[in-house]
Symmetry: C2
Subunit: 187 residues, 2 copies
């Protein structure tokens, strides 16, 4: 979140066409759950555009960018690197150390892969972190990791420069212009 050291999410292993929705969901999850930036590798312009449109409509700050090569980012990252993988150490065991580093001022690069992540990523990571050692979803793993990293603070954040705002309701849907207060009259 913008008043803390940066948290960026790097999405590896995108296969054009086949992975468009998963990559979009990774980036939207990064945005919704407190990361500052998503970096999408390769032919990911469709995902990039979707996330930019969401940020325009529902607010930021959040950056999404497309790069051709991920190795320079990983190599030159000035902070700590977390790699989410089902083979890693349990999140509940390492989250304290990751939080402490972030609180001490270290930016975090959170690497989210797919099936085949090169060994150099495991090696470059300060922590290889498993949200369970079971196969499930990189989107789910990222979500639980971010919620635990920020300890729920991300759910209370404010959004700026939004066009629209959802007003929480017990039943149904209420969306108002972002500068409205969401009182019943604005439904």
């Amino acid at each position: 979140m913008h008043d803390e050291p940066e948290v960026a999410v790097l999405r590896l292993g995108h296969r054009p066409g086949r992975d468009d929705r998963m990559t979009t969901h990774v980036a939207l999850t990064a945005r919704a759950l407190g990361a500052d930036r998503a970096v999408l590798v390769g032919d990911t312009s469709q995902s990039t555009e979707t996330v930019e449109a969401v940020t325009e409509r529902f607010g930021g700050p959040f950056a999404v960018e497309r790069v051709d090569e991920w190795r320079p980012l990983l190599r030159e990252w000035d902070g700590r690197v977390v790699h989410l993988t089902m083979y890693g150490e349990p999140v509940q065991r390492v989250q304290g150390a990751v939080r402490a580093a972030h609180a001490d001022g270290d930016p975090l690069l959170v690497v989210v892969g797919s099936q085949k992540v090169p060994f150099e990523v495991y090696d470059a990571a300060d922590w290889n972190v498993a949200v369970t050692n079971q196969p499930h979803s990189e989107v789910a793993g990222l979500a639980v990791f971010l919620d635990r990293l920020f300890d729920g603070r991300e759910l209370e954040r404010e959004w700026t420069d939004a066009e629209k705002r959802v007003v929480p309701t017990e039943t149904g849907k209420k969306v108002v212009d972002a500068d409205e207060r969401g009182e019943p009259s604005s439904e």
Copy 2:
């Protein structure tokens, strides 16, 4: 989890072909993060088979089933119903009430939709719950909800009847036969 009142995940709005991976990820997330059962509606046999194969390999108990109609399940559910939606009440505000109901013995049906969920679902739900009021991913929303419902207990669960087991490691991948202890010699 199997020593607690049942938690079942009902996946609505599956579009064959287009949603196969998202539906698979919803069900695998349900399995990994402590739900007992996933119910997939419509032409979802591909997802069902994938999840069954994962359970066979990495253990259970976990049930996945395919149904043609979801209305009977929702109507006849003997417990509480949670509907995850970006329009609902913040998870951090309602999680205490949901946890209490579950701890008191109520089975939970967690409904996960996609773009268009009929109003009757909002109406049938005891709680419409938002994991942020931002658009992101049903997989991410489900993951955070389950982690908060079980308060991390789901990360410590044991798996039975597994063929393979991942041994958490700082760097790299270690998978052993499920009856092995994961000492270095079994790598």
